[in-house]
Symmetry: C2
Subunit: 343 residues, 2 copies
Amino acid sequence: MLSAELQVASYPEGGVGPQHFSVVKVEVPDGADGLAEGEVLVRNTWTSVDPGLRLRLRAAAPEGYFSAFPLGAPMDGILTVGEVVASRAAGFTTGDTVWHSLGWREHSVVRASDEAMNGIGTLRQLELHGNEPQWFLGALGPMGLTAYAGLAVARALRGGEVLWVSAGAGAVGSLVAQMARLLGHHVIASTGSQEKVRWLQDTLGVDAFSYRDEEPGAALKRLAPDGIDVYFDNVGGDHLEAALDAMRMRGRIALCGSVSDYESEPRGPSNVFLATAKNLTLSGFRGSLYLDLLPEMQARVGRWLQEGHLVCPETVYDGLATAPQALADMLRGRTRGKTLVRL
Amino acid sequence: MLSAELQVASYPEGGVGPQHFSVVKVEVPDGADGLAEGEVLVRNTWTSVDPGLRLRLRAAAPEGYFSAFPLGAPMDGILTVGEVVASRAAGFTTGDTVWHSLGWREHSVVRASDEAMNGIGTLRQLELHGNEPQWFLGALGPMGLTAYAGLAVARALRGGEVLWVSAGAGAVGSLVAQMARLLGHHVIASTGSQEKVRWLQDTLGVDAFSYRDEEPGAALKRLAPDGIDVYFDNVGGDHLEAALDAMRMRGRIALCGSVSDYESEPRGPSNVFLATAKNLTLSGFRGSLYLDLLPEMQARVGRWLQEGHLVCPETVYDGLATAPQALADMLRGRTRGKTLVRL
């Protein structure tokens, strides 16, 4: 049968738009007979729109990143949720809800990988347990895992401490702030505008400040006069330095990213020596290396989502053909929270 | 009865010397009758000579350090080994070998502290098990604990990896290098002269380089072309930066001290962001917070010392009255390894 997929038609020079993609009908198997051993056919229902795609929409991707997408072919590495409609892979049955990384198409033929190849985008059964399927692309997916893994490596899952998260209104930061609050921490979130400060305070229910209006060090003294125990770092630079200063004995820092280093010459914190005096631990981490935490995270965060204690805003586009516009809008900052396409 | 102690007679303006101390005979109890409940009388046999004493030999100690020593009184905070000659403290019996922190005197009346006060210098029974008593002031004492605790926080006790230790010919560094070699690591030690490089290679049996003759980054590429897994940092600054560059995935760094920051404006590593990409952990620590590791460390390191697999050079002075000269010599770099006074 024929099914639609989005192919890269040309590489954008400036802004990405629908003109750089083509909707193409391609032949997919009608059922299990058309599949090879170990393959499943998935009818995709929700697909993710991620900023990282932009880096691969060029003839040669920057060194150290994934390879560039070829022209005239669908993109890969895009997490997608769907339902199995035919299976020749052990452990997968028609009707299963799954995720996999062959998104931006209506149907995908996906090979079930062996254990050794297990990664975040590997074909995986999803236990809905009352969760909405698209949540697995946001709070219950890679973003949620990054937030939860950071709290785990910072030994912050038991609550009862003072935790600061930078870029607290961002995709990962807003999940960290809410998870930490629900775990029983006193949460301080920093962000870049008073509008976001209000959202953090009123909607997410945490303390917040804008680093554009107040030095992080001064804000921490005001909001946490006895110091902080945990810092979830999405920024680096002067934020990391302020955290080292404000840390109490045996504090922990989860190093998730350092946006400040992207924009200018990396500036190292001049007070790393405080880590020795205060017995601090700084843990760099990537969520994708903590897949063992995924079931635990999905169980806890799924319950919070269903009970309305945790919010994860979504901007939803309808139909495969809208995906390029969704990407364009997201890259221009016109979407809010997780950007999704319903297929 | 009368027993000798060293009192601070005056604060040195420049170099420390015997003229700044007085040997004074003071009255100590003859036996248990002269002790209060909870006290023991110790005949000291070995006492430690530590560089940190110099900072307290002044009218006002620098902020953040221990307080200054008063004039006309013996110093405290000096780890000492001795034998119990009388006891009114539960758990301590005549003949026990102990350590405590009231050194630089022939006899000490020491109060056995309650659990809550437990610190590295607290009165503690030593199980000799064939060890020489003075080893407990060096490889089996605070220095050994700092080395071992650093290996523990860097999850490096199981061996089989590539480990770099800076200041590798120093008191702590030379223990780290030897313990790591005996645990089965490939050990690279850095130091500041070719003479020390030869000692590290020939006597300690590890790879070594001098940072005065070769950039740490270049030396690591030469000695560990596939990268390093563990870095024991006694230096900070450019050494820490080189380690972050050379680290393999899931590498660990034990932050023990940053000598380079003492001499000049602290310079932060500009590549902390690599910790995220490579899932690295940086753990600041102080050995004194890891007293729970002391028995394990003493058992393992004691066996290595007895079997001659691990060396800890000593410079020994004889008699209490030589302690000020020992301190003066050590501060001028005229002693080698652990400086000790036999009483």
